[in-house]
């Protein structure tokens, strides 16, 4: 390579070098940091911390052994500091480590491998095993550092949640405890659920001598050190690419509000020991999509980089990364990490989370019995984009802090299941039934935001009344709503299509036609699904009705979360309505103050909370996150009029949405 034919440089070389003896390191501190020398006889004097002086050797020792001993000492030091510096680098990037002061009052720093970090004594005890002086002969076990969070400091009504790529939140304690409900769950001191999630597991180790190449075994120590410099710089950099870094910074910034008692922690332990408990790092916190990373969903592809693939490996929401090993005479020094791809953790109010489960749930199959399964496994069914959209990258975009309700790259909701089944080759009855069932659930999903397990489907339209009757805090909070409303993406205008199943035998059903129930939007949803097979009507008619319903107000109002309106919005309509409702709001507040209830229609009552997001006061004090109150009124009115002229009303949705967002 490049190194071989190098002449040994002269000692008293650079004129700019002030020190007379280049053998002496300028650095008097422990772990002298200037080992740059290649001489035919390796002199690693600068490695020592004792000001570069030769360590005193037993005078009786023959001089032939001396260099060997020196070499050995240096080797041991390198191995030792490799471990301890790696531990310091990792832990200081995941926790606030207390500083120590040297006797002269300066902050003690570790300068090994030419990266200067504040030293700490917090790790001293745990690192004893790797501070021995005979590491090259008495090989140390792997040094394992686990970075984790736990719920030890959460209050009783708080829960640890994680947001998946669609923004949906999952209870972490439940996921880790598994589906078995029988065993008693651990609790923290405040009586809440206790769980611990390992985010990263770092392994620092000295590999076996046999794993080292011949060249590696003869690597000269200054070269080892020099390459170690590069390794530690890249370790420092890489630590800040990982998701846990973002989590650490996010929690550190708002220790009370954002984290709510959540803190990134670390522990150091010896590797290679059989673990008593199952590895929590391997437990997925939410179901990963079976259609794993689809290439077309990537903006870029890490695997195109030639050698990155061998170092990074992604399965089950975990990523692994191995740094190139540092060859030394004792064996390869290695650093590697396994980490969760997603570290979008947050603390949620347990009540809100529970109610969001009830309301957000939907049947994926209409024939299953509705079981009260409030845990994560019932919240499946969203054909969300794969959990590993950026699977091979350590970076994780999109934290809860920057939650964007609109996820354009997701292929879910109605879009993904095209009602046009003409694509299927030869439709059999079975596939048609499946399609019908899918369509049923799709339609249900559009309107069903709040699903109660006792078979009463509540649509978005009827929500406000229910919301008023229900206690305020039972509604999911804003984040949850944002997640759930983001799920059904706005279906584009559906193409008109003819049935490709003309002449198929119909299935009889006793449910009524959906058309009769448009005045109450919910049942429109529920029963429309059956209209595909509902009597002596042709397939075309059914599908036409179906499409008609889809293009009706209810579907249009499902476009709530579309942030970028493609049409110009008719703001004048909105402002007119706003004035009227502000007047109503004022009226309401005035009347509530007077303790006299006016007699507005119940529909108008429902409008007030939404409009309270503007400057008017909130007489009812309900959560403002339930949107589209105007639509409630509109839908009710529109339904009565038969659904025409709904375009404008649909458009007024969006400015209201923005307005709410602004507030």
């Amino acid at each position: 390579m490049y190194q071989q034919p190098r002449p040994a440089p002269r000692s008293a070389s650079a004129a700019s070098n002030p020190s007379t003896n280049p053998e002496r390191t300028n650095n008097q501190r422990e772990g002298g940091a200037l080992p740059h020398r290649t001489r035919s006889s390796v002199d690693l004097a600068s490695y020592t911390g004792a000001g570069g002086r030769e360590p005193s050797r037993a005078a009786a020792e023959s001089s032939s052994n001396a260099p060997q001993d020196k070499e050995n000492t240096r080797l041991n030091q390198i191995i030792q500091h490799f471990h301890t510096k790696a531990a310091l680098t990792i832990c200081s990037a995941r926790a606030q480590l207390p500083r120590v002061r040297a006797k002269d009052g300066n902050v003690k720093q570790d300068r090994w491998f030419n990266i200067v970090l504040d030293d700490t004594d917090a790790l001293l005890d745990e690192l004893q095993e790797w501070k021995r002086s005979d590491l090259s002969s008495d090989r140390p076990p792997p040094l394992v550092i686990e970075v984790y969070i736990d719920t030890a400091n959460l209050s009783q009504n708080q829960a640890l949640v994680i947001a998946d790529e669609t923004g949906k939140r999952w209870d972490v304690a439940d996921a880790l405890a598994g589906s078995g409900q029988s065993s008693p769950r651990p609790t923290n001191r405040q009586g809440g659920k206790f769980c611990e999630v390992v985010l990263e597991r770092w392994t620092i180790e000295l590999g076996d001598w046999s794993q080292e190449t011949a060249a590696g075994r003869h690597e000269q120590l200054p070269n080892v050190y020099k390459k170690g410099v590069v390794l530690f710089r890249s370790l420092y950099t890489f630590l800040r690419f990982l998701p846990a870094w973002k989590l650490y910074r996010r929690l550190g910034r708002h220790p009370v509000n954002g984290g709510g008692g959540l803190r990134v922690k670390y522990r150091i332990k010896q590797g290679g020991l059989a673990s008593r408990s199952p590895d929590s790092l391997l437990v997925p916190l939410y179901p990963l999509q079976h259609t794993a990373r689809r290439p077309e969903q990537h903006d870029y592809d890490y695997t195109s980089d030639s050698d990155t693939q061998q170092h990074r490996d992604t399965t089950n929401g975990l990523e692994r990364h191995r740094f190139e090993s540092l060859a030394c005479p004792s064996g390869p020094l290695r650093i590697s990490v396994v980490h969760r791809h997603n570290s979008d953790f947050a603390v949620a109010s347990a009540e809100a989370l529970l109610s969001s489960r009830f309301f957000g749930r939907r049947e994926s199959d209409p024939t299953t019995t509705t079981t009260m399964d409030p845990y994560n496994k019932a919240e499946l069914g969203e054909r969300a984009a794969s959990a590993n959209t950026k699977g091979k990258s350590p970076f994780k975009a999109g934290t809860l802090a920057s939650l964007r309700p609109h996820r354009p790259s997701h292929d879910q909701g109605f879009n993904s299941r095209s009602p046009g089944d003409g694509t299927e080759p030869r439709p059999t009855e079975k596939t048609f039934m499946k399609t019908v069932d899918k369509q049923k659930s799709d339609i249900r999903e559009i309107g069903t935001r709040q699903y109660k397990p006792f078979e009463k489907r509540i649509s978005l339209n009827t929500l406000p009344q229910k919301a008023l009757r229900a206690p305020p805090h039972s509604l999911p909070n804003e984040t949850a709503i944002a997640s759930s409303t983001s799920s059904p993406m706005a279906p584009p205008s559906l193409p008109r299509y003819q049935s490709s199943f003309a002449g198929r035998v119909k299935r009889n059903s006793s449910t009524s036609q959906g058309q009769n129930n448009t005045s109450e939007g919910s049942s429109a949803r529920g029963s429309t699904s059956d209209q595909a097979a509902s009597g002596p009507r042709s397939d075309d008619d059914d599908i036409q009705d179906f499409v008609g319903l889809l293009e009706s107000d209810s579907v249009k109002f499902a476009k709530l979360t579309k942030p970028a309106p493609r049409r110009t919005v008719d703001l004048s309509v909105y402002s007119a309505l706003r004035e009227e409702s502000e007047w109503l709001a004022d009226d309401m507040s005035a009347s509530s103050l007077l303790n006299k209830a006016p007699t507005p229609p119940s529909r108008r009552l429902s409008n007030v909370p939404a409009l309270s997001t503007s400057s008017s006061p909130r007489p009812l004090g309900h959560a403002t996150h339930v949107r589209s109150r105007l639509s409630t009124q509109s839908i009710a009115e529109e339904a009565g009029r038969g659904g025409d002229g709904s375009g404008d009303e649909g458009e007024t949705e969006e400015p209201l949405l923005f307005r709410t967002d602004e507030v």
Binding site: Q3, L34, R37, F241
Partner: protein, 190 residues
């Protein structure tokens, strides 16, 4: 014999408001792994990514100067559309590049006069920058995503490359200042 020194290429895409930060961020990342003197690390956030930062005056100034020059040339290229060496497309993207070269001082024994140390390049990092522009919000959003991902990818490539390619780093012969002189060339003519 020594072959041609290795050259590593990083590709960046950025919009006008972020291009300078993005380019500076990557340059600092490269220098962070090539500044062999003991260094107290610093960081700097660019586009929601934390990148290392070299708090050394000389390096900071040089990076700042060169990044400014590159951005200026990108601006000029995108406005004139005439310069042949830049692929200024009709949609307004323009390209430029930077080359970071690391050199080593080799002693040269002169017969009569002690010659100046010869400086040879032992590594080159080429940063190719594409300046994007958008005419609509969705396009701008798409450009932003591409920009973020290109930054992350480039930063990760630096980390991976420096780890894999360590054999060609020359021996370090001075313990005083930075052993490897460096140069940054804007839009080098190839």
């Amino acid at each position: 014999m020594d072959g041609k020194p290795p050259e590593f290429t990083l590709e960046l895409s950025a919009d006008r408001s972020n291009v300078k930060d993005v380019v500076k961020g990557i340059m600092h990342t490269v220098f962070f792994h090539r500044f062999f003197t003991p260094l107290t690390p610093a960081t700097h956030d660019v586009l929601d990514t934390t990148l290392p930062y070299v708090s050394e005056d000389d390096i900071e100034e040089l990076i700042e100067t060169r990044a400014t020059a590159l951005v200026r040339s990108l601006d000029t290229a995108s406005s004139t559309h005439t310069s042949p060496q830049y692929s200024a497309k009709s949609n307004g993207t323009s390209r430029g590049s930077l080359a970071i070269k690391f050199l080593e001082k080799k002693r040269r024994k002169g017969w009569f006069i002690a010659k100046a140390d010869e400086e040879t390049v032992w590594e080159t990092w080429t940063i190719e920058v594409t300046l994007t522009s958008a005419r609509s919000e969705p396009e701008a959003e798409r450009n932003r995503r591409v920009m973020e991902s290109s930054l992350q990818k480039a930063a990760m490539k630096v980390v991976t490359t420096v780890n894999e390619e360590k054999g060609h780093i020359p021996p370090i012969t001075t313990n005083e200042s930075n052993p490897f002189p460096y140069q940054i060339v804007v839009n080098p003519k190839t």
